[in-house]
């Protein structure tokens, strides 16, 4: 199962990466993806997650080919 992971704004700076391409042999949640991609970094409290550009909770299960994104609270407008 191939998953694209994207990071935005302060999270992109914190991880030092704009995106990751990860492979999983079993079904995983958004939270498990974070820890697979960022082993040394605790999930920040206020972080938001999206799958295929819709907001999801951290226990959301992803499917092959999904795009997962992590980002801080939004500050547009």
């Amino acid at each position: 199962m191939s998953i694209k992971v994207r990071y935005f704004a302060s999270l992109k700076e914190m991880t030092g990466r704009a995106e990751d391409q990860l492979d999983f042999s079993k079904s995983v949640t958004v939270k498990e993806i974070w820890y697979q991609a960022n082993k040394d970094k605790t999930l920040p409290d206020n972080i938001l997650a999206a799958v295929n550009m819709e907001y999801v909770s951290f226990d959301h299960r992803v499917n092959d080919g999904d795009e997962v994104a992590f980002f801080p609270p939004v500050t547009g407008g």
């Binding site: 935005f8 999206a50 550009m53 980002f71 801080p72 609270p73 939004v74 500050t75 547009g76 407008g77």
Partner: protein, 152 residues
Amino acid sequence: MDIKILAESFDPWQEIKQYQNSAKKIKGKVGATSIFVGTMRDFNEGDIIKAMTLEHYPHMTEKQLANIIEEAMQKWQIIDALVVHRVGNIFPDDPIVLVAVWSSHRGDAFDSSRYIMEALKAKAPFWKKELLASDDERWVGKNSDGYESRSR
């Protein structure tokens, strides 16, 4: 309905005029147009701000804004809506966001434009980084509820 994400500065009044001239479905039907324009301040949290950089998540931004406008159309009688938002480098007095709603009646126009603006603030994936007078950079942590008086 139109959603525009612009990397260059824009004139909100020109955008409204242009849209009104091209959108045939609002001709003759509109009794109320509600317009909100958000511009950049040169101060925030007690500091002078020289400039800002606005980052966004391309495509998710448009998707979320389309969802928000659809929700507003379910809740109120709206004929049409236009949302324009800047990304990139922004300076004090530059317009950042335009929300325009056309309706037959003022209640629907006022309430739906407020709803769209508040939902944009809460859900549209944009992030502001401020450049302070000291040349330090700072991410804006979160959006406020929009009332200075409530924080006093």
